[in-house]
């Protein structure tokens, strides 16, 4: 064997390459006018690590690469044994059943913590992040999880449903340039069922023709659909207000806040985020309960069957198209509700909110958290959104807000290479991936199409 093909050399080269890319990612930015600022600066800039070490970035780079190489080699040497000892502690189904009360107790504790959370973070920035960036994204991730995780369909235009939910809310509350239906301006509470029905119908309309397609085509068609919705929202000035947002050029019609007037109870939500947080939390819990029931219902099992082997599923009498369309419509529902919350809380909506990037952002929450695993998806959304918002709020040196999607893209690749089942894997999904890697079955049979 040639010397450069030895394993340790490969590991060393890979370690150097990985750390070199990380240096580039975390280094200063450049421009067309000064392309070397970023490219060379990333390695040559002066750094000071708490004053203990003063030098150039490339020195840090060498140290990091060596550490990375060392950890990697150690893992190869001792990892399998450690991993085996972990595996022996993994629960059998019987033990899982015995642990169920513990698990529910844990979820209850989490819920109580979630209830106190806005008072624990007494900072206005983080309070609004809780609603606008975490709760709403948990809803979106839960919905996309039904499509990607349960049914195994890659939807890259999920933002379209979010947009439809938000614009429907604006429409029925009378906040769009186009008049509300029958001239009735509804309370946002009534917009919830209307928006959910609208997005589900949109899901059916989009799904029925496109879900016949192979999975990779579906991804592109949904991607295009997401773009088209944005193009329309941006250009139909008379209907959506175009790029001026829901108020149109006059900008005089805010989307109202939620308000309740039931017998002796009168309450009106305002711009303040905390009441919106509690409202959203209630719906998050409802959606989690609903989707978990669905996962183990007849419908959920049909999704699993289609995901694992569409032909076999069809031969036992499952109509794949019907169940795939259902996944689209049901997944869209939570995105529609997220649209209602966003529209009502922020008073105005703009097409610029509903970009392809947002679809990818939601996708990464699902993938990183664990496809098909509801606790995973919620954890993924909370972790990633918190870290993202922290980075945006207190940017470290060399970080710009627009770099966020670079990290998100890298995270997608890294997750797929090292932990394809995600942070908290769904047991079923993990089994599928392990079987597929052992060459015994195909996970996501839907996507294999005509492979010989």
């Amino acid at each position: 064997m040639a010397w450069w093909r030895q394993d340790w050399i490969r590991r060393l080269v890979t370690s150097l390459a990985v750390v070199a890319v990380v240096e580039l990612m975390t280094g200063p930015s450049g421009s067309f006018a000064a392309p070397t600022t970023g490219l060379i600066g990333s390695y040559n800039e002066r750094v000071s690590v708490y004053g203990l070490f003063v030098g150039r970035r490339w020195m840090v780079f060498l140290v990091l690469a060596l550490v990375f190489f060392g950890v990697w080699s150690a893992w190869l040497r001792w990892g399998p044994r450690t991993r085996a000892s972990w595996r022996s502690t993994m629960a059998t189904p019987r033990e899982m059943a015995a642990r169920r009360p513990v698990r529910w107790g844990f979820y209850l504790v989490l819920l109580v913590v979630a209830g106190f959370l806005p008072h624990l973070v007494n900072d206005p920035y983080w309070q609004s992040v809780l609603v606008e960036q975490i709760a709403v994204f948990v809803l979106l991730a839960l919905g996309l999880n039904v499509v990607v995780g349960f049914a195994g369909l890659l939807d890259l235009g999920f933002v379209a449903f979010y947009a439809i939910g938000a614009y429907t809310t604006a429409w029925v509350t009378g906040a769009l340039p186009t008049p509300a239906p029958f001239g009735i301006h509804l309370n946002p509470f009534w917009a919830i069922p209307v928006a959910i029905v609208f997005v589900m119908v949109a899901g059916i309309l989009l799904g029925t023709p496109t879900l016949r397609l192979r999975g990779d085509y579906l991804a592109i068609v949904t991607l295009g659909f997401g773009e088209i919705i944005t193009i329309f929202a941006n250009n139909l000035y008379g209907i959506t207000g175009g790029s001026y947002g829901s108020g149109g050029t006059s900008g005089s019609h805010p989307i109202p806040h939620f308000s309740i007037s039931l017998g002796p109870i009168h309450y009106r939500w305002t711009l303040a985020p905390v009441p919106y947080y509690y409202l959203t939390l209630v719906f998050v819990v409802l959606f989690i309960l609903g989707f978990s029931l669905l996962e183990h219902s007849r419908i959920g099992r049909a999704w699993t069957a289609i995901r694992e082997d569409e032909v076999a599923a069809e031969s036992v009498g499952i109509n794949p198209l019907k169940y795939k369309v259902m996944a689209f419509a049901i997944g869209a529902a939570s995105a529609g509700f997220a649209g209602v919350v966003t529209a009502s809380q922020s008073n105005f909506i703009f097409p610029a909110t509903f970009t392809l990037q947002l679809s990818i952002n939601v996708l990464v929450l699902v993938i990183f958290g664990g496809m098909g695993s509801i606790p995973g998806v919620v954890a993924g959304a909370v972790v990633i959104q918190t870290v993202s918002m922290y980075l945006i709020h207190t940017p470290p040196a060399g970080f710009q807000e627009s770099d966020l999607y670079m990290y998100i893209g890298a995270l997608l690749i890294v997750t797929m290479i090292f932990r394809p089942a995600g942070l908290i894997p769904s047991r079923r999904r993990r089994r599928e991936i392990i079987l597929s890697e052992a060459g015994e079955a195909h996970a996501d049979e839907v996507l294999t199409g005509d492979v010989a």
Partner: protein
């Protein structure tokens, strides 16, 4: 009804008056779509996967040629043979950069997964991740604004067709596209490596038993597609400038072209590109500029619903 007929007549009038100039522009665009579509088709042929990161290979080609041309040309305005030299340099650099980027991409985002026999969804997601990572990295390193390519000034008309001027720029696109496509077609049809590509496309497992090096064949396939995509990026950038997101829309359209012609089919990719370019260009007479990009997407959905195998049908193995 009368009003509608009048409205339509107005549009047809525009179409009649502008037909030839729209056609010329459409053909040029179509050649660029075709070049990029070849990349999708080749990769699809051997791996049965859509390479979502192909848009970033296109972008890499554009960026690399931008920087090299800027270094080579400085502030000079080339004329005569120097113009062609500049264009040639751009094409070579764009193609090389595209091929390198594609090979690297295959190495990192595809081969690691293939080694593990990962499910198909994993490849799609990893490629989407790669795409986002690459264009945002380009945005970070070179700024998030549009920069025009150093100009060899080839926008002057060479001759006219029915009164429609044909710019030298369009001729360059057509010539580059036609030559590269012919070479590629012959390469796949008549060389040993090309035979390897076709064999892998037909049946990878059997091909490997017959002594075809699968890893190398796949890498070469990516490199070939990447080279054409990179040249596409350069030629596109020459007209529209370079920006970190430049790949997204042309790649989506090139994918449409690949599906239109029959994905996995090399000739189909070029024909699909031409048809798409022309139809899209002629549609300018009927739709507002804001909805221009919607046309290609509508065509994509229509093709997928009516004839998902495309005009010439699938299969790279049979294309030659």
């Amino acid at each position: 009804m009368g009003a509608f007929a009048h409205f339509l007549a107005g549009h047809f009038d525009t179409l009649r008056l502008e037909f030839w100039s729209l056609l010329v522009g459409g053909v040029a665009n179509g050649f660029i779509y075709g070049m990029v579509a070849v990349g999708y088709t080749l990769v699809y042929g051997v791996l049965r996967l859509i390479n979502f990161a192909h848009s970033e290979i296109f972008m890499t080609g554009g960026f690399a040629s931008y920087f090299v041309l800027r270094a080579v040309m400085g502030t000079s305005v080339p004329s005569g043979w120097a113009t062609f030299g500049v264009i040639l340099v751009g094409i070579v650099v764009g193609g090389t950069a595209g091929a390198l980027a594609a090979t690297l991409l295959e190495r990192v985002a595809y081969r690691t997964l293939r080694r593990r026999n990962a499910p198909k969804l994993a490849y799609l997601i990893s490629a989407i991740g790669a795409s986002y990572f690459l264009f945002n990295l380009a945005g970070k390193e070179f700024g998030r604004y549009n920069e025009s390519m150093p100009q060899p000034y080839i926008n002057h008309p060479v001759f006219t067709i029915f009164g429609a001027p044909v710019q030298l720029y369009y001729l360059v696109i057509v010539a580059a596209g036609a030559v590269m496509w012919l070479v590629l077609d012959r390469f796949v049809a008549a060389t040993k490596l090309g035979r390897g590509i076709r064999a892998v496309a037909q049946d990878a497992e059997t091909a490997s038993l017959m002594g075809v090096n699968i890893d190398r064949t796949i890498a070469i396939t990516f490199a070939l597609g990447g080279a054409l995509g990179g040249v596409g990026g350069f030629l596109f950038g020459l007209g529209s400038g370079v920006v970190y997101t430049m790949g997204f829309v042309p790649a989506l359209k090139a994918f449409t072209a690949a599906v239109l012609g029959g994905i996995g089919n090399l000739r189909g990719a070029m024909i699909g590109g031409l048809i798409l370019g022309v139809v899209e260009s002629l549609s300018i007479a009927f739709v507002q500029a804001a909805y221009f990009d919607v046309v290609a997407f509508a065509i994509l959905v229509l093709v997928l619903l009516v004839r998902p195998t495309g005009i010439l049908g699938e299969r790279l193995g049979r294309s030659a």
